[in-house]
Symmetry: C2
Subunit: 191 residues, 2 copies
C-alpha cells in the first residue's frame, strides 16, 4: 500500500500545481499554434490561474518560453531514447521510431526549429537551446551506432537528415514518402 501523504513525504515537493499547469498549457499552445500566436491571457485562461499567479511564477513571457523549451527538450529526449532502445538501438529501424512521431495528429514539426524560426533572431537564447538540443539528439544517435558496432562518425549526418525529414512532413509531404527517402539515406550511409 502507499505511504501516508504526510507533510514531508516528498521534501520540497508539492511546489505548486499552478506552475506545472502553466508550463503544460504553454507546451501545448506554443507547440500547436506558435509562440507569438499564443498570448499571455490565453495561457492564463487555459491553465486556470490568475494573472498574479502567472507572473509570480514566470515574471515575463520570455521566461515561460525558455521553460517551455527546456521542458520540451527533456520530454522529447526521454521519448526518443526510450523508442530507440525498444528497437535495440538499430539505427536501421530509425524510420519506425520516427513514423510514430510523424503520424501523431498533433504533429507540428520540431519545437526547436520552429522556435528558432519564429523568435531566434529576437531571443538568441532560443537558438542556443536549440543547438544544444540537436547536439544531444546527435549524441544519442552516436550512442546507438556504437552499441550496434557502427561508425559513430555518421551520427551527425543521420541527425541532419532527420531534421530534413521533420520539416518535410510538417509541410505536408506524405509520411511514407519522407520515410522512404530517409531510409535511402540511412542505407547508403550504413552500407
Amino acid at each position: 500500500m502507499h505511504a501516508m501523504k504526510t507533510k514531508n513525504d516528498m521534501p520540497p515537493a508539492k511546489v505548486s500545481d499552478a506552475k506545472t499547469r502553466i508550463l503544460l498549457t504553454a507546451h501545448d499552445l506554443f507547440y500547436q499554434n506558435g509562440i507569438r500566436a499564443t498570448g499571455v491571457d490565453k495561457l492564463i485562461k487555459e491553465s486556470g490561474v490568475t494573472k498574479v499567479t502567472f507572473y509570480r511564477h514566470y515574471p515575463s513571457k520570455n521566461d515561460l518560453i525558455l521553460a517551455f523549451l527546456h521542458y520540451r527538450h527533456d520530454k522529447w529526449m526521454a521519448w526518443f531514447s526510450q523508442a530507440l532502445e525498444q528497437k535495440n538501438n538499430q539505427i536501421e529501424r530509425l524510420t519506425d521510431v520516427l513514423s510514430e512521431w510523424f503520424s501523431d495528429s498533433d504533429y507540428r514539426g520540431c519545437a526547436f526549429i520552429n522556435s528558432v524560426g519564429e523568435i531566434g533572431s529576437e531571443l538568441p537564447e532560443v537558438s542556443k537551446i536549440s543547438l544544444k538540443h540537436k547536439e544531444d539528439m546527435t549524441n544519442l544517435i552516436a550512442a546507438s551506432l556504437l552499441k550496434s558496432g557502427q561508425p559513430e562518425i555518421l551520427s551527425e549526418a543521420i541527425s541532419l537528415a532527420i531534421d530534413g525529414a521533420i520539416t518535410r512532413v510538417q509541410s505536408g509531404q506524405p509520411v511514407k514518402k519522407v520515410l522512404e527517402t530517409l531510409q535511402l539515406i540511412l542505407e547508403k550511409l550504413l552500407k
Copy 2:
C-alpha cells in the same frame, strides 16, 4: 542609345511603384524578423506609402504574405538554378553553392520552412506553397543529376538533406561543420 521613354514604351508597365516597394519591404522584414513580428504599420512606414495605398494593393495582410512567398520562390529558384549552372550542374559541388547562401550575414534559414512553422497551421495555403517550393527545388536537383549522368532518384534524398543543413546553420551550427556533414551524405549517396 536608349529609347525614348514615351508613354507606351512598356505597355501596361509602370504598373505602380508603390506595390513593388511594399512587396520588397515585406520580403525583407518578413524574412528577417518573421511574419507575425512584422506589423502592417511598420510595412507602411518602411515602404513609404500610406495606409490606403497599402490596402488598395493588398486587401489584407494575408494577401501580402502569400505574395511574399511567391516572390521569394521566384527569387530563390532563380538564384539556385543559376548557381548550379555555374558549377556545371555537378551536385558534388552543391556545398559550394550553399556556402554562399549560408554565409550571408542576412541568412535566416528557409523562408518557407520558417513560414510553415510560424503560421502553417493557421494559413494552410502557406504549407501548400512551401511544399511546391520544395518540389521545385527537388526537380532542379534532379535535372542537375540528369545532366551529369547520375541517378535522378537521389534528388529527393539530396533535397531533404539540404533542408536539414538549412535549419542547422540557422540554429547557429558553424557553416563549415554543416557543409562537411552534407558533403559526407552526398559522397555516400553518389559513390
